[in-house]
Amino acid sequence: MNETFGRYGGQYVPEALMPALEELTDAYQRYVLDNEDGFMDEFRERLRAFGGRPTPLQHAEKLSERYGTSVYLKREDLVHGGAHKLNNALGQVLLAKYMGKERIIAETGAGQHGTATAMAAAHLDMPCEIYMGRTDTNRQRPNVFRMRLNDAEVTPVDVGRGTLKEAISQALRDWAQSVETTHYVIGSVVGPHPFPQLVDDFQAVISEEIRDQLHEQTGGLPDSVVACAGGGSNAMGTFHHFLDEESVDLYAIEAGGSSLAVDEERGVAPNSASLTTGTEGVLHGARTRVLQDSDGQIMESHSVSAGLDYAGVGPELSHLVETERVTPESVDDETALAGFHRLSQTEGIIPALETAHAVGWLETATPEQLGERVVLTVSGRGDKDLETVLEETATHDVPEAPEMDVFSTTTGDDRNA
């Protein structure tokens, strides 16, 4: 177990939480790494029966044609709840149960991690409270309903801009006072050690399946593997089992937002490209690449995709970028929206806006980057993003978008008149 990844990682939290991190590190070692009491067996079985794993690795015919290569889609959109997030949430809630905790808390931005945690907590009969920025509760209403339906408390956070950053801070505050009975289910490969590794290990099932499925389908390895990255759990899970395969190129696609430039004055980055444009700093318990001003104040990030809209990124991913094992690429809002529509129309899969960044990147990638076999992880489905896509498509230049005039009053009957 590494507490750090090169210069990144560590445990930058209040002293009150340190014993909990020690306890968690111990539990991680015993249950996850050593499969004590058959923890990993139970986790795998529940991922299968409750979560719907394995998910398919689908050869995408139209994309393959378009890019002159074989494109395979890893279908995490088919996981229960609609995203890869359940892999981690289920693992952590189960771990909390093994640790004898009585309560679960979590933060959520887009609501995907919150809904996944609420589902896992209902499934495993654990009381659960989700912190969510006030702005996000309002713009992600359906996900708030879903969490409530699964009997989770949803606590809006009224601080600051009311988004993910504030929700994480608030969850850490809750944890600092409830740590003895409560486990904090963090939603990505971020936060203090051992969270980045723990979450990575739970998400590693993605690349384990990809490797086996692609081997079965083609007898070989991919040339390139593409995943969108916000905090980086989807990317780390997708890369994990290829890290040691030098022939496999790994691309982490970040949100380029409207621009890679930064407004220091207002403390705003119109993007979430912390791997590409961030600098070393300490955020939410770990040293990693963050979007910050020259004083070290964390900036507001921006992306059309709520799930990528975060000023930090997992420390291991920062390290893998620094050592050039992983290539970070950023895709702007418009290209992501085009990718969203392209996948919906040509493959019949409506992706999450997060995933749409990875899809959008294919359009700009060179044949050398893609190679002959590309795997792209569809990290989630886009049902949660319908309203956003409608609004954003209207204000951006997205020729791929369909007309949405169904709700006008002309009728299809006229054709027979």
Partner: protein, 280 residues
């Protein structure tokens, strides 16, 4: 505290239990905040903790979060903070409380040293970084030692005995005893864990100051009676600043209220207190 001369901060505990107020510097403005800090000094502060606001204050409750928002909106930056310290007319030791990222980013080179240098030059006597556990603190510890600043760590109710030893070893100035679990914020109950924590510290060289949730002179007295060498009060004071801000009170009026609150707390301590030298 490893074989060093006694610092100004530690010395402030000599004549009886110390009163250590906290304010966020620059809340709500640079100028008014200076008056507030000076009022606390007049009210009997033995040491003053000054918050340098960070955008992600994960260890603060809502009261201090709001103070941080007000201060940042008023234009507070690390550089302005040092100017603030330099502008203060108080003669008690000053402790800067801020998050590690601001310490780490300050200046042109990576690492905490430039921040510590500047803090020392401005007249800061010690630092508290609430998100920096002792495991990650070596670079800052080194810089503080080099420049003669105290580095104060927090002992939490959850701190295990195994953690206590290295924690005390790296501490200087005083030990910040967290009275209860949770983040900062005024509370009317005082956990009985406090006395347990104090018991564990018995025999340590450093004075133990208790914070988190103290808001009245009576409470302060109880805690001192339980054996504390000092009390730290933050949210109860910030509440007064917030009230003044929200009700548009004159700076002097808020300053007077702060001074009165400081006197109440000092009185509570004195009633119960005896000089540290006599208690050791």
């Amino acid at each position: 505290m490893i074989g060093m001369r006694e610092s100004d901060i530690t010395a402030a505990f000599e004549d009886g239990p110390a009163f250590i107020p906290y304010l966020t510097a620059g809340d709500p403005t640079f100028e008014s905040s200076i008056e507030y800090v000076e009022a606390l000094a007049r009210g009997g502060a033995d040491v003053i903790e000054l918050g340098l606001p960070f955008s992600e204050p994960i260890a603060e409750g809502p009261t201090i979060q709001q103070a941080i928002v007000r201060s940042l909106e008023g234009g507070m930056t690390p550089e302005r903070f040092f100017e603030f310290v330099e502008a203060l007319d108080v003669d008690v030791p000053l402790v800067c409380m801020t998050y590690y990222n601001l310490i780490y980013q300050y200046g042109d080179e990576d690492g905490p040293r430039p921040f510590v240098e500047r803090a020392a030059a401005a007249g800061i006597d010690g630092l508290i970084a609430p998100d920096l556990p002792v495991e990650e603190a070596t670079p800052l510890r080194t810089a503080c030692d080099a420049l003669g600043l105290d580095l104060i760590f927090i002992v939490a109710p959850t701190t295990t005995d195994e953690r206590l030893t290295p924690l005390l070893e790296h501490s200087s100035g005083y030990v910040y005893v967290q009275a209860r679990l949770g983040v900062t914020g005024a509370r009317s109950d005082v956990s009985d864990r406090t006395s347990h924590s104090l018991d564990r510290l018995d025999g340590d060289d450093l004075p133990a100051a208790v914070g988190f949730g103290i808001s009245t002179g009576e409470q302060a007295g109880e805690i001192v009676a339980a054996g504390a060498d000092g009390i730290i009060v933050g949210s109860a004071l910030v509440d007064i600043v917030a009230e003044g801000y929200e009700n548009d009170l004159a700076t002097e009026e808020t300053a007077e209220r702060l001074e009165a609150k400081a006197r109440e707390l000092t009185a509570g301590i004195i009633e119960q207190g005896q000089p540290r030298s006599e208690r050791l």
